[in-house]
Symmetry: C2
Subunit: 437 residues, 2 copies
């Protein structure tokens, strides 16, 4: 891995480079995505089935688009590794337990003048979860997208996922969906699936929100339908940043960097450290592991593209760099990781200490692995129960509570030229409707 | 106002009609908005100043784009109604008090095996607030957008607002901004202001999130930069739905309907009631008030376009209709409004009882008046402190806590074909790096 002594100018270049991976830079796909969306909006199922024939080479129609109970039962038998069921169940338990703690509750505050203010929390009614097909069909991702919706109390959770040529869905996906409690699964993928969820078709009813990762077509389609429905944040390529001082174990750090680099060629693995010795040792371990791991080609490409070992003079400079990059995953391996953590502003998930390796969070610890990528941890949060609720303000005033505000509300309304607003207060305290404006 | 006896088919038509007002249906402006965004991204200040010259007819440059302290002082003297300052201060106090209750806190949960899971809450660093110029420069809106950011602890709150031809900003806006605690104000508006906030220019640094209402150009620009930065939900025209039975006061209901209808010709005012008698009386009062109010032309147009009195057979049918419409403002004026409220799923703000008139919420009660419009209350929430924070997951495991999960994590990773993930766990429990895959 390349080792760079960090200064302001190299930092700026690296930051710009990393942002090039953003799905926001692929607007050249927008026309074909918009055409698909418009066609499904206009022609419903007919368009949906045609795209599935064209793109997935699968014959899907109104009678087989919905995964049957038999197909789900069969999926358990089709599992390559039957042990996966038990592993999924253990992981599911932890994920559920963590997300239960995120639940928010309705509240109200009353005053003795008869006024009540509050906030009502209501789960979304219908949510659509997109699950990619092929090599990116991760059962862990199914759990991470479905469980927060389930914990929030969503009435119906709908899954869409592209079928193989044989019209079947990946058994790992079906088993994970069934274990997590998905209500209905449709065999359709790509931008056309997003269109179906956003607008509704004869077979698929419109949802309130669409979540889940997908390729560039899916990402752009989700962005395009934002406003018709809600969406989770637009997912970019995976990232890990390890913030370490001389106390870190270089073998662990190297292995952890590679755990994200293996995702794809756009994935980014970065070590920021105050220790040149650590930098050199990690680089050696990385080379050794790459030579032995199955996905060595992807690993080498993603390291060449977006892998860096950055050496800084001070821990504060290292922390500033971590905050500037705002990585999806941040491992802190310093003498006192909790102390370092207090100075972190921007990160999707923060892993503290040498035993908190990133894959623990991907699969088992409980927190969500759907995290803000590509610098968006500056303003986005991990997927959570919050994503599957909405709030309504509650206002209940008595006449006694309204009266002392009556004049001021009317003044404010009139200052904004909104005299019908003022009138709505006035009528409650004046009998006469001879309005003077 | 037209009175309609509601059935499934008339309901469907009305729902479709209301959705036509969506800012999502104005994609024909998208090309000019995208051109503005691209130009500002490429040419920074130069493009910004040129657009301000073209669109606002104002001469703005690097030396006068920032509102000075003198200009703010002067604004207090320029106020048309000097009483507004006191009114703003009283309102501000209530808004702050309500939003303080929305604050969320970091939490953690530890187990005696040395594992800690948690969630860290961090305010956003820099937020941009858009404030329209001209007739839509509402000081109340400034308070509602700025105070939640302030309560959240945002480090820097930046405001952008278009200048008049004389290069000056509406004094109401400046006074409200100063009272609410805005840190810096730039004289620039339209899609070009959104571009500056999203990408940064020489004069204006990039922000993390953009909030605030604007015209169709501003709305489309915000949607286009979503992902580079976060945005609040895309605002549509205002709405009120009054859900009433025979106990409601028709004079109050009529006045409240008009308080939203006066906003603009796309605003929607709807009464849903089980009482034909109330329907008729409200219609009469509406006609009487319209004839006397200043904004009678807008009122009549918005009532003709999107005003309805809908009569249903049962209260359940009325409630279902309210949930289908998912109105921005919902007034419940029934025998037991709290009981009715429990059955409401979708509404931005819920006003209970005959003294909770909608303008009370617009100006004074405390809850935010930036609310989801156009059916989006099905999945969006009022603007709140939540909009100005982000969360990071916290994972800290001891060796003792990781060890029992070690095998399962590796199994899960291998089932997904992610062997470098498995390796990152393995290295912690095996000395030997002779990886068998």
């Amino acid at each position: 891995m390349r080792i760079i002594k960090l200064d302001e100018s190299s930092k700026k270049n690296i930051l710009n480079d990393l942002l090039k991976r953003s799905p926001n830079n692929y607007d050249n796909f927008a026309d074909s995505v918009n055409a698909i969306l418009a066609n499904v909006k206009e022609n419903g199922d007919k368009a949906l089935f045609q795209y599935t024939k064209d793109f997935d080479k699968a014959d899907i129609n109104a009678s087989n688009i919905k995964v049957t109970e038999e197909e789900i039962k069969e999926a358990y038998d089709r599992l390559e590794n039957p042990e996966l069921v038990q592993v999924i169940r253990k992981s599911l338990k932890n994920i559920k337990e963590y997300h239960e703690k995120q639940k928010q509750y309705s509240w109200f505050d009353s005053k003795p003048d008869g006024s009540i203010l509050g906030q009502k929390v209501t789960p979304l009614s219908r949510v659509g979860v997109y699950v990619p097909g092929g090599k990116a069909a991760y059962p862990s991702s199914v759990l991470m997208n479905v469980i927060p919706a389930k914990v929030a109390g969503v009435e119906q959770i709908v899954m869409v996922t592209p079928p193989g040529k044989d019209g079947k869905v990946n058994p790992n996906t079906l088993v994970a969906a069934n274990e997590a409690g998905v209500d209905v699964i449709y065999k359709v993928g790509g931008a056309q699936a997003i269109a179906a969820l956003a607008y509704g078709t004869e077979s698929i009813a419109k949802v309130d929100k669409i979540v889940g990762p997908g390729n560039i077509y899916v990402a752009l389609a989700k962005k395009a339908v934002f406003g018709y429905v809600s969406i989770d944040s637009v997912a970019g390529p995976s990232e890990i940043l390890v913030l370490a001082d001389e106390t870190a174990n270089p073998r662990y750090v190297a292995a952890d960097l590679l755990s994200q680099a293996e995702h794809d060629e756009l994935a980014s693995a970065i070590l920021v450290t105050t220790s040149e010795e650590l930098a050199n040792k990690v680089s050696e371990y990385v080379d050794m592991f790459v030579s032995k791991l199955k996905r060595k080609e992807i690993l080498q490409k993603s390291l060449d593209n977006y892998g860096y070992i950055l050496v800084t003079d001070t821990m504060q400079a290292a922390i500033d760099t971590a905050n500037d990059i705002a990585s999806e995953h941040l491992e802190i391996v310093t003498k006192n990781p909790f102390d370092t953590m207090t100075r972190i502003k921007n990160a999707g998930a923060i892993f503290l200490g040498e035993n908190s390796s990133e894959p623990l969070g991907d699969y088992f610890a409980g927190p969500n692995h759907v995290l803000p990528t590509n610098g968006t941890a500056k303003f986005f949060s991990p997927l959570s129960v919050d994503d599957f609720i909405k709030k309504s303000s509650i206002i209940s005033y008595s006449r006694e509570a309204l009266e002392p505000l009556s004049e001021d509300i009317q003044k404010f309304a009139k200052a904004e030229g909104l005299t019908a607003h003022a009138n709505s207060i006035r009528v409650r305290f004046e009998e006469d409707d001879d309005i003077k404006e």
